[in-house]
Symmetry: C2
Subunit: 765 residues, 2 copies
């Protein structure tokens, strides 16, 4: 795994700190210092304008534009939807004595910025040395409110160190942002207006008609004078501030942003709704918002913090991951999903992948079940699009998109969007996982089963019977391992489909028992027949699972064992990433894999495979895996811990936890690896904690890395909050709140209560 | 094979005749009535302007434009080159009494048009009934000179039937043509000028700077007055003609077109060269050009005519094929290739495919060896591009493009351009075939071997060793059968590569013996090592050829026998072509094939497979083949004849011979199926004639379709012209000119002289 940390930031348990400004790392820091609240997100760009390398990125969950795709054939998508760059609501310019501050051209010192996990704010301070010898300390703070999703707050503090005078500050809302990936400006202005100290503006995207209402209020110091400014895509204020030597002058800006995708509403309605909300929150001042923010985060940390002792770097890393995960998504707003880069950049176009269910969902299931349910409801809400897409592919049921912002397929590489079938089974697995851990059968019966039936219908029509094998399976597919492009009987896909059919049938039987009337109404509506169920059972029973009896190794797909061998360590480091250095077709003709595929299902259905089987398959596949997906190391870390390879487990663990802080992949500049961040949580809980949640019982087999003295994490299981606390001697699991829980530790059943169970740490022989 | 003839045109042994005008078939007829001389081609559009459905298509071999391709990955092409639509050099407008003639709006009768195979001209006549009651007979004739490639001639005859008066005729050169496929006008005017009765214009393509000089002279009747016209993209004359009742007034226009792709030359040089040629041919009048044309065609028919007695439709069909083949290509101009639609339309973008070597080359080898050599020299000339392309794909040697106009790859579907390897082996096969039949070892040693070595280098670096099989082969490929998109060890590719290596090594050994000094110089220049040769031998010896010992059936690729079965006859006719009606990915997951793949190599290396083996494989694969390529039926026809299925042979034969005349595929409107036209020749010579030319001896096993009384064809073999003449009783093969030839008939060797050999026709038991 040719991935090397780029150590740069200051290590601190509760903050990310950058001391001194490095223009070369400007975009990387912009990503790391991103703020968000799932509704909106904003990169850590310099709001006062920066002539150096910057991406003014301001994103609103689910707000999209679209572009046409030159499709040649049926079933290949014709338009591409992507998250659009929104309003720069932080827009600021600072001028003193005709010199305008710009980190690209101005002289400044004492630069320091912090992302504070406890307060949920991003601060930046520096001393600006003007050409005329004057010096002024600038302090910037911003927050995106977790409590009030539509609220963003900005504070600017000026403190002249050696003079008394005036400053001109411009603050406003700028809709002239460029969507960098498409090199296009998408916003048109619908309306601008000012009412009772609130300046508002309504913008609309050119092709999709998505609308965004944005407004701001200023809280100015006494004696400040402001003048209204207006341009086609901009509304703002010019403020003249009196500055007194060694005194702080504070300007606050409070912004309300309301994103609206509903084309049914008139512009007048959208405007009125926005203005009404702006007025409603007009009483909130910066201080109040900051206090609420800190309270919100206190609750998050109380229920979701992971404590690591003896490893400050990873302590910081895992808190950064949890902080960013909550910022990206916490389930307060319905209808959202998690983009591969969250709300921190344009890469992957703001689209959600199977990562949501496979890598992010577990964090929410065990920390924030409401949010987990809300993620699954995104799939329920977009079921109509999945039904439509299956039809386009000449299949029945629902085919969930490999990449989407609104439920329609938005991956313009046909080989991925048409051949990667594994989102559907990931959704099904997510439903099963969520229901098993939370016990939320209401969701299962109201929405889950309908999805399961429609997904099963897809898998029952997309698959085929092998002519020679007589077995059922999937031909012309790409599994999670994207280095095997178009293969037959991918083991992961086949196994997951088999499990899907079985779980759907089991749920049908269960619901029929539980509530026959509601069940009958559902199956009537869906036209579910007994014949279908027999068909699914037959296909599940006869599913082909490529496997070598002699070695106990699952064959990733038909013919994989004959694929030419490549010693992956013989590839020069300079050739990574291979996507950029190898001819596209060359990637696909070795036994080299990009990310776990067989190992993935051995993790997901852990209980069905022995440690020996995992070890054999790990040894075979890990040596062939180049981890070109940032999601890859974590599954390896978890399995390495299980099969008794603590050093390897730790090596793979480190990568995910500090992937962005140490810019391992050298592409953090494009945005954070949000779904890998979720995997970092899994590394600790499933990896070192040895938790397994795929069976009837919740299992723990804790280990602890050598260099740690202690670690602990909470999880919520069937309404009970458990604390898992491990040191080099013992494991302690106790109930923090809720009923006693039945769990399995080191192969034994226990009923755990508030007093907890303490066991000796089991060490690998 | 759901392909049904659309019988419409008049059957005539030496002409294509259309009586009456059908606007619905306007574009189909435009394609069928195309004229060309390999240098330029022009569709049978109405030169006087037509407001109905028309494609003003005027093409110049190798003249191209290019457009960018949105490529995501390395090795995927970034620009696309395609044949551009050129000047409308036939531009004409006819006005009488303020009414302008237009077949879309005018009243007319007695419409008849002919394409005359003996004269090589296209004529059209009709009577125009003006709104004011006047009637005038219009007669149009055009020819594209086979003798002088740059010369095009046009004649317009007006004969008033019931009045004496005047007509206004505009004639000129129009560079404002639209390239319909790209919906773009590519031509910019560089210069216009008139000198000594010659009006000339130089146009240039916007992106590639290809230039086209075009000029015309008019031959006007006495008393006609002409006025010069000039617009930005047009130069012409307005002619006022005096018309006398029942007398013919003739206007001739003689055009010189010089296409120039050489960017090194200045505009002045290109212009001067064009004008010089225009002046040089200024003496040629229409009558002389028409006489030369007829003489040229007389020679063609003397040496290449196929006579069929008892089947007027196919007699017409095969002559149409030979006529169009010669029009598309006859080797007088170096550096040309054969586009899939010849010079008759924009479909397939004017690009040449492997069809050239696989389907067209045999016709030229046996009818016009100089043209055959010239085709192979196109590949030699474009060797640098093939070397470059191999590098882009991380391979050594030469990788010939799957679709090209100038040697660069121009297929924008990566799955075809990166995975279809079979052009290189087709070129190698073509070299071998050409050399074996003509004995032209000079070509082999001067150019052929260099290509063979570079092609071998590609195949030696693109292939890999199967980890389990221990055999060499090609992974991640698409064979000729494009319904199996990305497979391993395609039997055709592997077998052809094995043969390639063997032939290259054999040629090396032979040339080393024949001319050591020249050989040493060549291998020095190419850096050929003994190690490479050992490597090729090893790979040839260990090539994987998937084959089932029990059934004797070759497996098209690894895993083909397990592909889900589909009864192709169960597909509703309305779902054809499948490319338009099935989801793209669905095409690729059955044991259904698009065109012969295993059967293709059984034909190409016929001598190495027994009739029994062919029968078994034919029975297996033909029942799985939907013939979605127009090239497919012909190979089946040839094999059906060999294995004793005369009815099937005839059914498949008919399709190719009248594919365009009867618009079998309903897409002749886009242009003629030029390479399928070449296959029609193969159907007769290889099919019914039973010729095989892949071994040391030329073999004949003639049969004759039941409904034919007699057929005959000439072929040129090692400098000798042989006539093969078959009727229901006997076979006669004799020498028309040249030395006696050693051939093999019905399993016996014969030396054939002018008197010929007469044998009883062998009938299948």
């Amino acid at each position: 795994m040719p991935k090397i940390a780029d150590k740069y930031l200051v290590v601190d348990p509760w903050k990310v700190v950058e001391e001194g400004f490095d223009p070369q790392r400007s975009r990387v820091s912009e990503s790391i210092f991103s703020l968000g609240n799932e509704y909106m997100g904003v990169r850590g760009y310099a709001e006062e304008g920066y002539s150096g390398d910057t991406l003014i990125g301001s994103y609103f969950n689910g707000l999209f534009e679209e572009s046409e795709v030159g499709a040649h054939y049926k079933g290949i998508i014709r338009s591409l939807r992507f998250m659009v760059n929104g309003v720069d609501w932080l827009y600021t310019r600072i001028t003193i004595d005709d010199e305008t501050f710009d980190m690209g051209t101005s002289k400044f010192s004492n630069f320091r910025r912090e992302l504070d996990f406890k307060r949920g704010v991003y601060t930046r301070q520096l001393i600006w040395h003007l050409q005329n010898g004057k010096s002024v300390q600038l302090f910037f703070e911003r927050l995106v409110s977790m409590e009030v999703s539509i609220l963003g707050c900005q504070r600017l503090v000026l403190k002249p160190l050696n003079f008394t005078g005036t400053a001109q500050v411009i603050m406003g809302l700028d809709f002239a942002t460029i969507h960098e990936d498409q090199n296009t400006r998408y916003w048109e202005t619908v309306k601008q207006d000012r009412q009772r100290g609130i300046s508002g503006m309504l913008g609309q995207t050119a092709n999709t008609g998505n609308r965004l209402f944005s407004s701001y209020r200023l809280a100015l110091p006494e004696g400040a004078k402001s003048t209204a400014l207006s341009e086609e895509n901009f509304i703002g204020d010019e403020i003249i501030l009196k500055l007194n030597k060694e005194e702080e002058t504070v300007v606050d800006k409070l912004v309300i942003n309301c994103a609206d995708k509903d084309r049914e509403q008139s512009d007048v309605e959208v405007w009125s709704k926005g203005m009404k909300l702006a007025k409603q929150y007009a009483q909130v001042d910066y201080q109040t918002a900051a206090e609420q923010q800190e309270q919100y985060w206190a609750k998050v940390w109380k229920h979701s913090d992971i404590v690591i002792e003896g490893d400050p770097e990873n302590q910081q890393g895992i808190r950064f991951c949890i902080f960013q995960l909550y910022q990206t998504y916490h389930g307060d707003n319905p209808g959202f999903n998690i983009g591969a880069k969250g709300l921190t950049g344009e890469a992957y176009r703001g689209l959600a992948f199977w990562d949501t269910e496979s890598y992010c969902l577990p964090f929410y299931i065990f920390n924030n079940p409401k949010a987990a349910r809300s993620l699954l409801e995104f799939r329920y809400k977009t079921l109509p699009q999945a039904l439509e897409r299956a039809k386009e592919l000449d299949c029945a049921g629902a085919f969930y998109p490999i990449a989407t912002i609104d439920g329609t397929e938005s991956c313009d590489l046909w080989q991925h969007s048409n051949l990667q079938l594994h989102v559907g089974t990931a959704v099904a697995y997510g439903i099963r996982h969520y229901v098993n851990i939370t016990g939320d059968r209401a969701f299962l019966y109201e929405k889950g089963l309908e999805m399961l039936i429609q997904i099963s219908r897809f898998y029952a029509t997309r698959g085929q019977w092998g002519q020679k094998s007589g077995k059922y399976g999937y031909f012309g597919v790409m599994g999670p391992d994207e280095f095997q492009l178009m293969v037959n009987n991918n083991c992961y896909i086949n196994l997951m489909a088999k499990k899907l059919f079985e779980y759907t049938l089991q749920t049908i039987a269960e619901m029929e028992q539980a509530d026959l009337a509601v069940f009958a109404a559902l199956t009537d509506r869906l036209g579910l027949t007994m014949q279908e169920q027999i068909d699914w059972k037959n296909k599940a029973d006869n599913m082909k699972i490529p496997y070598d009896d002699e070695t106990g190794i699952y064959e990733e797909h038909d013919g994989f064992f004959d694929m030419p061998h490549l010693d992956i360590h013989s590839i020069p480091v300079t050739e990574f990433p291979l996507y950029s250095h190898w001819s596209y077709d060359r990637l696909y003709r070795y036994d080299m894999i990009k990310q776990p595929d067989v190992l993935m299902f051995m993790f997901l259905y852990s209980g069905e495979f022995s440690v020996e089987a995992k070890r054999a398959n790990y040894d075979y596949y890990e040596t062939r895996c180049i981890h070109e997906s940032s999601l890859s190391p974590s599954i390896h870390s978890i399995l390495a811990a299980e099969i008794g390879r603590p050093a390897e487990a730790y090596k793979f663990f480190e990568f995910a936890t500090r992937l962005d802080l140490d810019n391992y992949n050298r592409n953090t500049r494009e945005g954070l690896h949000t779904t890998s961040i979720a995997a970092a949580w899994m590394n600790i809980v499933y990896g070192f904690g040895g938790m397994r949640s795929d069976g009837d019982k919740l299992i723990f087999n804790p280990t602890i890395p050598e260099r740690w003295s202690q670690y602990s994490f909470p999880i919520t299981y069937q309404g009970t909050e458990l604390a898992v606390d491990v040191n080099q001697q013992r494991v302690k699991i106790s109930v923090r709140s809720g009923d006693p829980a039945s769990i399995h530790i080191y192969g034994q059943d226990y009923i755990v209560g508030p007093a907890g169970i303490v066991l000796d740490l089991k060490k690998e022989g």
